[in-house]
């Protein structure tokens, strides 16, 4: 179909990159924000603006907290669709397993658990007889954080970057996976297309015509951060491999089941409950023992992840994992105890090479380690990815602006409008949810849902605006939507900072003075964003002023001039 390899790669790069680029933009942009998801959470939920806490005492604080945990309405609804009959009231469902997870950046603790249900599944092979409950708690007092409060960083931006909040049939995950694969394809095909990878590694010529300088920027941001782009797209796919290739739940289920039994025998951690009730020994004492063992290994640490299975059963066990502040892997060095007696059942050996590689790859993407410099470098990498994708769109449009006629003019208008929507429009929507977060009444029922709606609606309005203003593109001009939305970004970013000040009293002088970086950092970032957008808007204004609408005569002239300029 194609004359040669390079042509095939160019076609794939252009068209797959264009179509999936819009999704990739969201993945990269919200991924970059997710680097500081916990900090954005603090900004969005002011009652959680206190220092990070260690895992609290299980016996004193957590155990009473778990007594109040109930199955989440969302999972009740989801489970009701795949079982027979009505699920009993959440108050009557017994908690059978539980977890708690924290990192060095978490003031609030994420907890959750599984509740057993008596209902038969509709699909006989479905052996998941549980509903899930989850919540965030204040580990100092054990009080629950209202589920109406949306932790915008970790509950909205973070899932946005891998699921697009499109949960029907998990379709969002699949679309992002396709985009991830296309990112890898675009990187390889881009390298093939780029004839002077090393000679032009440092090349950026902003003073040349738009098409040239945009391509320079596209190549620069793509090539210098190539390892970052490659490994983040690749590890993103690896992290959700279980969703994309559900072999163990389908074709290889017998083998996976056999493995579970063998694994339980090998590790001594029971896979099934014994069916007889048993009391629970002190978990705090188990934590002390786990910490003692980490000390002995020369790697003292805090508890990152706590898991208990078969609660109240004689086969119950407790797993305690060390927080991975100082390593790329999330958690590790698990020590497992018999719940009824507190005796050590097993201490995890160092991971095998395969698991170590996997932990490194997933850990480098999920980044729960303590390394602020690397975090900021990741933001740079992520934003470089955004610039790379955005300049790809602009190049696509610029290259075709001159051969505009009927059919292709419509395509160009759409591509340009979608580019506006996924660049400035996405920033506007992101800022809109933050402003909404500060302006909606504190006790509004389903407050988080309203914040999400405002995000989606403002994004939709930006799309409509971009399409409405795209007529200029058909005459070879810059769409004014770019500039107008940039000004909107300035307005919203500054208001978000102001409303945070008015609503919470935590203005920049105070937060900087207290060294409270989560809120100071978000505010500073918002102001920086406003500054960049203002500069962009001014440059766009100047460029719009320089341009002449395209007519056959002066387009020829323009070409000649460009040739003359080299």
């Amino acid at each position: 179909m194609f004359a040669n390899f390079r042509q095939a790669m160019a076609w794939v790069h252009t068209w797959f990159g264009l179509v999936l680029g819009f999704v990739l933009m969201a993945a990269f942009f919200f991924g970059s924000l997710s680097v500081f998801d916990r900090e954005i959470d603090r900004w969005a939920v002011p009652e959680t603006r206190f220092p990070a806490q260690p895992m609290p005492s299980f016996d004193q604080v957590l155990w009473p907290v778990y007594q109040q945990l109930r199955a989440h309405p969302l999972d009740m609804a989801a489970t009701a669709r795949r079982v027979e009959g009505e699920i009993p009231h959440p108050d009557t469902l017994p908690l059978v397993s539980l977890y708690a997870y924290t990192t060095h950046r978490d003031p609030v603790l994420q907890i959750g658990g599984e509740f057993a249900i008596p209902n038969k599944p509709l699909d006989a092979s479905d052996d998941h007889q549980h509903v899930h409950g989850w919540a965030s708690i204040d580990p100092r007092s054990g009080t629950y954080l209202s589920q109406d409060k949306l932790q915008i960083g970790s509950e909205f931006f973070y899932p946005m970057h891998y699921s697009l909040h499109f949960h029907w049939q998990d379709l969002g995950y699949w679309i992002v996976a396709l985009a991830g694969l296309v990112m890898l394809v675009a990187l390889v095909s881009g390298v093939v297309m780029h004839r002077k990878l090393f000679r032009e590694l440092f090349t950026f010529r902003p003073h040349k015509r738009t098409q040239r300088s945009v391509l320079d920027l596209h190549n620069l941001t793509g090539v210098v951060a190539l390892p970052f782009h490659f490994f983040f797209a690749f590890t993103g796919l690896v992290i959700f491999a279980g969703i994309y290739f559900p072999l163990g739940e389908t074709m290889l289920e017998p083998l996976a089941k056999q493995h579970q039994v063998l694994e339980a025998e090998r590790t001594g951690l029971p896979h099934e409950p014994a069916g007889e009730a048993a009391p629970m020994a002190s978990v705090d004492a188990m934590v002390v023992e786990a910490k003692r063992r980490w000390d002995l290994r020369g790697m003292p640490g805090e508890v990152g992840y706590l898991f208990m299975d078969h609660l109240g059963d004689a086969n119950g066990y407790v797993s305690i994992y060390r927080a991975g502040n100082d390593q790329v892997a999330l958690v590790g060095q698990g020590v497992h105890f018999k719940a009824s007696t507190g005796e050590v059942l097993r201490e995890d050996p160092p991971p095998t090479p395969v698991f170590a590689i996997n932990e490194f790859l997933t850990g480098l993407h999920l980044q729960h380690f303590k390394h602020w410099l690397l975090r900021w470098l990741y933001v740079f990498g992520g934003l470089a990815g955004c610039v790379c994708i955005a300049t790809g769109f602009v190049f696509f449009v610029e290259k075709r602006k001159k051969q505009l006629a009927g059919h292709s003019a419509r395509l160009i208008r759409w591509v340009d409008a979608l580019a506006v929507t996924t660049v400035t429009g996405m920033v506007v929507a992101t800022l809109a949810i933050l402003v909404a977060n500060r302006l909606l009444p504190a006790d509004l029922p389903a407050r988080g849902l309203w914040e999400e709606r405002i995000f989606w609606y403002s994004w939709l309005v930006m799309l409509a605006h971009a399409l409405w203003r795209s007529k200029a593109v058909a005459s070879g001009l810059i769409s004014p939507a770019w500039r107008e939305q940039s000004w909107l970004v300035v307005l919203l970013a500054v208001s978000a900072v102001l409303f945070n000040w008015i609503g919470t009293g935590d203005h920049l002088v105070k937060t900087l003075n207290d060294g409270y970086w989560p809120v100071a950092g978000v505010d500073l970032f918002l102001l920086a964003c406003a500054l960049v957008a203002a500069c962009a808007a001014k440059i766009l204004r100047r460029r719009e002023g320089l341009q002449q609408p395209l007519s056959p005569r002066n387009s020829g002239l323009q070409d000649n001039l460009e040739v003359a300029r080299g």
């Binding site: 000679r199 950026f204 210098v224 390892p227 790329v328 380690f369």
Partner: protein, 110 residues
């Protein structure tokens, strides 16, 4: 706090490495010095210096953090400083003369 110093030194080293490697490219040499092209010995020298500086940067990263983390920091440093170097070349190329101490432009006749 020692880590901060090491990571700063690593940054400086990686930045220098990127600049020297860029200067070994004819177009950038011209941007910075105004001369048409560096001679072969200079190119070799710049490449060796550049590679060595990047290597020193890696060693400093390894000194500051656990190896798995250090590699990540180093790779991101390379990206960042290549990017910064490209932008400096685009707008303030003469700043990069700092990395050519003792450089004297050849007379136009030679």
């Amino acid at each position: 706090m020692g880590d901060v110093v090491l990571l700063l030194l690593a940054a400086l080293s990686c930045h220098s490495g990127a600049v020297w490697l860029a200067l070994a490219i004819r177009a950038h040499w011209r941007q910075v010095t105004g001369e048409s092209a560096p001679d072969a010995a200079t190119v070799r020298m710049l490449r060796i210096l550049g590679a060595a500086a990047l290597l020193v940067g890696l060693v400093l990263c390894l000194w500051a953090d656990a190896p798995s983390m250090a590699v990540l920091v180093w790779i991101m440093y390379l990206a960042l400083f290549a990017f910064i170097t490209a932008f400096t070349l685009a707008w303030r190329p003469q700043v990069l003369k700092l990395w050519l101490p003792g450089f004297r432009p050849r007379s136009p006749l030679s």
